[in-house]
């Protein structure tokens, strides 16, 4: 079924988001295949990969908390609220996979912080919340872009790129919701 077969844009977008979750789950399964990752990564290389995964995990926990702030702000109206909750769900999936992979590599996953600082005083409208989320998502794209080439294990690099793609979709859709060109550039950095 294509995007254009749905009765309206909101229904289409929701269906596509559900599908993107299914694609990500496929990548997660590949990442968690486990033995391959363990066999291909050892010693210093594994320690380096664990550090990358843990930094990503810390940022994912923070993104989950940020979306929680947005969802509980009372500023988001449906269907934007649904969008935020869906994106938060993706970050939860990322965090779950990252934590399990750190464990499989013999590391200790970082824990979520008890408290996060966010600029809540500046969030007064739905657009403020969306802008804040878009800033974090754009940063996440750059962060994964900077992390992917550092992985010693190519399967982990591939999985990191899969998450990068998801963050980029979040950023584009948030920009679209803000009335901005969803994809303003041909290349990210």
């Amino acid at each position: 079924m294509s995007f254009f077969d749905y009765p309206n844009v909101v229904v289409a977008r929701r269906a596509m988001l559900v599908r993107s979750g299914a694609v990500l789950s496929g990548a997660a399964v590949a990442l968690l295949a486990g033995r391959d990752v363990l066999a291909a990564t050892a010693g210093d290389a594994a320690a380096g990969d664990i550090r990358i995964l843990n930094t990503a995990l810390g940022a994912e926990y923070e993104a989950i908390a940020a979306y929680q702030v947005g969802a509980e702000s009372g500023l988001l109206q449906k269907p934007v609220l649904d969008l935020a909750v869906t994106f938060q769900g993706h970050h939860k999936e990322h965090a779950d996979v990252l934590a399990k992979t750190v464990q499989k590599l013999g590391g200790t996953p970082v824990a979520a912080k008890a408290k996060y600082d966010f600029p809540v005083a500046t969030l007064k409208t739905q657009a403020d919340v969306l802008n804040f989320a878009a800033t974090l998502e754009k940063g996440a794209v750059s962060a994964y872009l900077g992390a992917v080439p550092l992985f010693a294990n190519r399967d982990l690099a591939k999985a990191g790129a899969s998450i990068l793609g998801d963050e980029a979709m979040h950023w584009a859709i948030l920009r679209q919701a803000l009335g901005m060109p969803p994809v303003p550039v041909a290349f990210m950095s």
């Binding site: 380096g48 930094t55 940022a59 600082d117 600029p119 800033t135 940063g139 962060a143 992390a147 080439p149």
Partner: protein
């Protein structure tokens, strides 16, 4: 032929190194740096600690010294002062400059972009957001 190629390679290396020095000396543009800083905002903010430490006051600060931030052992040991030179080196390749850092980011390869970013960090440190 081999000797000529070796001479050519040597001259290319010298020219490339001179070029790098010239580019690195270009003054940074804080306005461009603000745009580049959006790449940092998955983990950093000016005013508060996040996955990475806050950036208010970073220029001139000792590495690993923001109160309340849980630094990696590597960064605690680094004993750097974040001036434009050390920031430039770190931003070019964080894991190479401080092996074991949790800033697992390949870096900003373009010297002009690093200069712009450092100019922004310096200017932002003196702005109302950081006072």
């Amino acid at each position: 032929m081999v000797r000529r190629n070796a001479r050519l390679a040597a001259w290319t290396a010298i020219a490339a190194s001179a070029c790098t020095v010239a580019i690195a000396a270009t003054p940074g543009d804080a306005k461009r740096g603000a745009e580049i800083y959006t790449r940092c905002q998955a983990c950093h903010a000016l005013e508060y600690n996040r996955t990475g430490p806050k950036h208010c006051g970073v220029v001139g600060r000792k590495s690993g010294s923001v109160p309340g931030f849980d630094y990696s052992p590597a960064m605690k040991r680094a004993k750097l002062t974040w001036d434009p030179k050390t920031l430039d080196r770190f931003l070019a390749d964080p894991p190479k400059t401080v092996p074991g850092t949790t800033m697992t980011y390949a870096g900003v390869p373009d010297p002009q972009e690093r200069a712009d970013l450092i100019a922004y960090l310096r200017e932002a440190g003196a702005s109302g957001a950081c006072r």
